[in-house]
Symmetry: C2
Subunit: 298 residues, 2 copies
């Protein structure tokens, strides 16, 4: 609940199943490592000023529509629905409001969706601005993606920390290159086996191959892939360049042209799983050198 | 993003609107106060051992059905829906996947709902147990309630910290009484004007008055009500006794009978709003005595 101390509780950090694939509870030793990772990211980011913004797990539907997420990833988006009927209408459904019951026939889409990525709200906050200087933000949010498969680290609900910048294309490209190197170095310092790969996103629908090939060709997304379990390598962080997509859709500019954006994203649960896989299930027994590497030596 | 330091960033802590009522972003000074509150709750709780569990913002639908939340609060529950169709079906909806578009006709209810209260998953974790000793948990989660009205502190997405116990009726009643007094003292120590009131929950439907009167008569719920804005008093914390409801539905026992449970709940955003209302919008300028009171003198 708090990260105000570095003492790591005894015991195993393994997440606690909820019965729903990709949705877990997290015990104190796991959360202690999450706290160490936040410290490490702070240390990495200390040289740049990143105003912090905490992002809620639900955001306006209009925001993700405008960002283009619905078009690109309809199969991953979670929409928030609620009962908007009258007490009289509910009286008919109430007898079904038991475990496994069919009480949801009157649920209707609300104005909210689950947060698919932590950075969208800050791009929206730049609407109408001409960026004389690059903008920076550090965001954290609980993200949701309706993954079709389940495996360690293939979570539907997970925490994402992102460092974000907006400005010119030249700024965003050099910033992204610097951060890709910095994050790879940080992870390797934790004795994690890091592969850096040009990647694509799981676009949906008939045109997916086209999108994905184009994305790879432009090297928009670099993933840092690390073993999170035996024989299982996953992307635990990424460094992304969005060109002027968000400048176009949210209407902010740099040097008179639509603003470019880039972000470095940290998959918090996956990084913890990679550390548990590399250094053992009990963080309280990890070597001090590992703790120092995670926190950036602070 | 991290609460590893007590330094409070300069500037106003006011939440940042998202355009959706009751859903906000939070700047660094606000999050710094959240960190102080977590410290304060830790200090209050230090005398008892509360294993910590971090709760995700989505939980299994079956859990809240079994807990009885759907029956009691159908109008507040958010359900998670997703697209389960084929790429060919999506191809027909894709042209509507723009801002304000009608692309959601094929969204279907998933196995998940938004977390309505942070404590439910830990009661489920006690299923089948005979509690020889009282159990305790400290949980934090991002909760969701589809509130029909909007005002400062009337949030749809908010953080809840709960201290929870399970055991005999006598244990739960004395524990709840002790915590009600401790939390009221903590809040008054921050110079907040606290009214303690017997309350009821916003039950829905024809039988609501009956439920609410019964709940008040049994003094199941005490609310700690504090001004959060001019002329606006809200419950910022509560101390609750659930009798053997969760022992019955989740199947755990104490002394051979269905287990009783109690919890103390802290509405994190509302406590911050109350502090901002009492001490000003810039936490970096609050007196040291206020900071010390919030953190429990630590």
């Amino acid at each position: 609940m708090t990260n105000t101390h570095l003492t790591i509780p005894e015991g195993e950090a393994a997440p606690i199943p909820t019965g729903a694939p990709g949705v877990q509870l997290y015990p104190a030793p796991f959360e202690a490592v999450v706290g160490l990772l936040r410290q490490g990211i702070d240390t990495l980011a200390a040289a740049e000023r990143f105003p912090r913004v905490a992002i809620p797990p639900v955001v306006p539907r209009a925001l993700v529509e405008r960002a283009g997420y619905v078009k690109a990833f309809p199969q991953l988006l979670g929409t928030v629905h609620s009962f908007t009927g009258t007490p009289a209408q509910w009286k008919e459904l109430a007898p079904h409001a038991v475990e496994g019951g069919a009480w949801d026939s009157e649920q209707r889409a609300s104005d909210l969706v689950l947060l698919p990525a932590a950075c969208y709200p800050v791009y929206a906050g730049l609407a109408g601005k001409e960026l004389a200087q690059p903008e920076r933000f550090a965001v954290e949010g609980q993200c949701f993606r309706q993954e079709a498969t389940s495996e360690p680290g293939r979570l539907r609900s997970f925490r994402m920390v992102e460092l974000v910048t907006a400005g010119t294309e030249a700024h965003c490209l050099s910033w992204r290159a610097d951060w890709l190197e910095a994050v790879a170095g940080w992870l390797r310092g934790m004795s994690l086996k890091v592969e850096v790969e040009v990647a694509d996103d799981p676009f949906f629908g008939p045109t997916r191959r086209l999108f994905q090939a184009a994305q790879r060709a432009q090297e928009l997304k670099y993933e840092l892939r690390v073993p999170v379990a035996d024989g299982l390598v996953q992307a635990i962080a990424s460094a992304n360049f969005h060109k002027d997509h968000f400048g176009e859709v949210f209407g902010f500019t740099s040097e008179g042209a639509p603003g470019n954006t880039a972000c470095t994203a940290f998959g918090i649960e996956r990084i913890v799983l990679a550390l548990l896989h590399a250094h053992g299930p009990r963080p309280s027994q990890w070597p001090d050198s590992v703790i120092a590497a995670v926190t950036g030596g602070s």
